[in-house]
């Protein structure tokens, strides 16, 4: 690639990116075209920006849905109906391992975005694979937790507290399951179709989705588990 297409980030360049559109050189000639960002003379935003924005709105609606589950759980946290409470059911070290799995998978997912940007098939596949395995480990641990709880008579039908617990944690688990299926699909698509523009946009959406699941898990382990243990 020729160097003439590259803008050097010097002080002369509009530091706050107020003037969008074409960059002009000392003689007023267009030296480089800055991608339109949907502001003023920049013209309409690029498809990637629009797709990212649309998916971000979906994710926010998902987060709003989770917030109603969280509200229900917080309100019902003491409604144990004589059954086991969070202090008796939750083991912080186990939750710590699950958290570590999900956090590490979020990190490797970020690395896959870097590898995608570099158009590296090997590293993209490898980091997506590690992301998937860590997500799977998280899911297996969670399912083992659930079956143990149900086995000890602490299923969702035991009390309002446990109903809301299984609703909010189970909903997150379902999201992780869907994310794993999506991840497998993306690995196959990257392998077969390569780094085409539409595949890149799908990878962007998957990245946003996976990181958002980790954000929801942060709220989950704080409000449901750690606050449930201290209560």
């Amino acid at each position: 690639m020729s160097t003439s297409q590259v803008i050097q980030p010097t002080g002369e360049r509009d530091p706050y990116k107020l003037g969008h559109g074409s960059e002009r050189g000392a003689h007023g000639d267009v030296v480089a075209h800055v991608e339109a960002t949907g502001h003023g003379e920049g013209g309409p935003a690029s498809k990637r920006v629009i797709v990212g924005y649309g998916f971000w709105i979906f994710l926010l609606s998902d987060i709003v849905m989770f917030s109603s589950f969280f509200a229900a759980h917080s309100v019902l946290q003491t409604a144990t109906a004589g059954g086991p409470s969070g202090r008796e059911l939750f083991d912080p070290s186990r939750i710590g391992i699950e958290t570590a799995c999900l956090l590490a998978s979020s990190f490797t997912c970020g690395l896959s975005a870097v590898a995608t940007e570099a158009r590296s098939q090997l590293w993209t596949q490898l980091s997506l694979l590690v992301t998937g395995l860590l997500g799977l480990a998280f899911l297996v641990l969670e399912v083992l937790d659930f079956t143990a709880m149900v086995g000890h008579g602490a299923g969702p039908q035991r009390s309002a507290f446990l109903s809301s617990f299984f609703a909010v944690v189970g909903c997150h688990g379902l999201h992780v399951t869907a994310g794993l299926l999506w991840l497998g699909t993306m690995m196959a698509q990257v392998f077969v179709k390569g780094f085409r523009a539409n595949i890149m946009r799908r990878l962007l959406c998957f990245n946003l989705f996976w990181h958002t699941l980790d954000i929801i898990w942060v709220a989950l382990f704080t409000i449901v588990y750690l606050m449930g243990v201290t209560r």
Binding site: A32, L111, D214
Partner: protein, 131 residues
């Protein structure tokens, strides 16, 4: 390889975007490493706070919420790449609206249910209060 024919500034990108002009592989990995290290530290702090006797017990939930909000902020900045760039104005506004709705849903539920619990208090407990 740091340049991929895309002439955007590194801080002029929407969430998840890494294809900006000045974003080399090393810088990308460094960003995720910083985010990962910060969130690991905040997670460990959260789990430590629960088991420790250093903090006055009634203040533990507040400490947990502060740590969680900090970690969510770290995730938004380092993993979702939410910045103050012009590209991101719409995303920030959407997030602000989402936070408003969440505050209404969660705060409103607490408010209503606390009043309801107070009004529906079992008779024995109510008598205990009046005594």
């Amino acid at each position: 390889m740091s340049r991929l024919g895309n002439d955007r500034g590194a801080d002029d990108v929407a969430p998840g975007f890494l294809d900006a002009a000045d974003h080399s592989v090393r810088e990308g990995i460094r960003g995720y490493l910083i985010g990962f290290a910060l969130s690991v530290g905040l997670t460990i702090a959260s789990f430590y706070v629960v088991g420790t006797h250093l903090i006055w017990p009634p203040a533990i939930p507040v400490a947990l919420i502060v740590l969680a909000v900090a970690q969510i902020g770290v995730h938004l900045v380092f993993f979702l790449h939410l910045t103050t760039a012009p590209d991101n104005t719409n995303n920030i506004l959407a997030l602000a609206f989402g936070v408003l709705i969440m505050a209404l849903v969660i705060g409103g539920s607490f408010w209503i249910m606390n009043h309801l619990n107070h009004n529906m208090m079992p008779a024995a407990q109510m008598m205990h209060m009046h005594r």
